[in-house]
């Protein structure tokens, strides 16, 4: 069985496809909103020290990624182990050589990667204007403003994705998540 086919089959056996997607969106949203908070804070503080801003944002992105990978791996592997044990009890047999056991071992890793990589990748995208500005690349807008726009775009994309997955309007869902981002920015401005 080709690797992709096997992964799809294991995902089907363990019902992890939906879980990975959910984790991707939830933690991706966490990452995008955290970066939005950081760059908005930097913008309103008036700081122009790109190195300081990048250090803060990269630190947060790495922490979000590690937190996402470890928390999802620990919880998902415990869930999969429990499900396998229950199945073994129902079957009254050892399933350690079955595809169910392979799925229980492999899928927590994939779910953890989805959970950890989503905030990291979105964070890298959001802070990319800061990197470009530091490298001397001319930008059409201030790097922090561009980062805020990219964060809002990512948050809208995640909302729209959720809307299309849920079979509702992607536009309404995207606007809802943008509203949450707007409230977050408003609160940061007040502080």
């Amino acid at each position: 069985m080709a690797l992709l086919k096997r992964l799809r089959y294991w995902s089907y056996l363990a019902g992890s496809g939906d879980i990975a997607r959910r984790y991707f969106v939830v933690n991706g949203f966490d990452g995008a909103l955290t970066m939005l908070g950081l760059v908005t804070g930097f913008h309103f503080s008036g700081t122009e020290d790109l190195k300081l801003m990048l250090s803060g944002c990269v630190g947060a992105a790495v922490a979000l990624g590690i937190s996402g990978i470890s928390s999802a791996y620990l919880s998902e592997s415990a869930e999969q182990r429990r499900a396998l044990t229950e199945l073994e009890e129902a079957m009254v047999s050892d399933l350690s050589d079955s595809e169910h056991a392979n799925a229980a071992k492999t899928l927590p890793v994939l779910v953890a990667m989805a959970n950890g990589l989503a905030p990291m990748l979105l964070s890298i995208l959001i802070i990319s204007p800061l990197w470009l500005a530091q490298a001397g690349v001319p930008l059409p807008l201030q790097p922090l403003l561009l980062s805020i726009l990219l964060a809002l775009g990512s948050i809208f994309f995640l909302g729209a994705f959720l809307g299309s997955v849920g079979g509702t309007s992607w536009l309404v869902s995207g606007v809802k998540t943008l509203l949450i981002a707007g409230i977050t920015m408003g609160l940061i401005m007040l502080i």
């Binding site: 089959y9 089907y12 056996l13 019902g15 229950e86 199945l87 129902a90 079957m91 047999s93 399933l95 050589d97 079955s98 595809e99 169910h100």
Partner: protein, 93 residues
Amino acid sequence: MHRVKRLVLDVLKPHTPNVLDFSRHLAEHGSHRVKTCVVEMDDKTETLQLVIEGEDIDFEGIQQAISENGASLHSIDEVEIEGSETEADADSD
């Protein structure tokens, strides 16, 4: 020399993979026809009666496919085997 032509097996399997996918996996282990009938359905498991028909059924392959899919073979309920005399057998007679 003999060839297994038909087997009727009693198998217990989890709900996933479903009967269709499970039968597909068994059918992939050789060129035989698989007929699956759900005999009993429980909370987490289902009991199946598998009828496998072919020209030369690879029983070990079938057994392996059953256990790979998390199922267990409970009993072999029917067997149909065809014997055939080889040239060596005929010479020794």
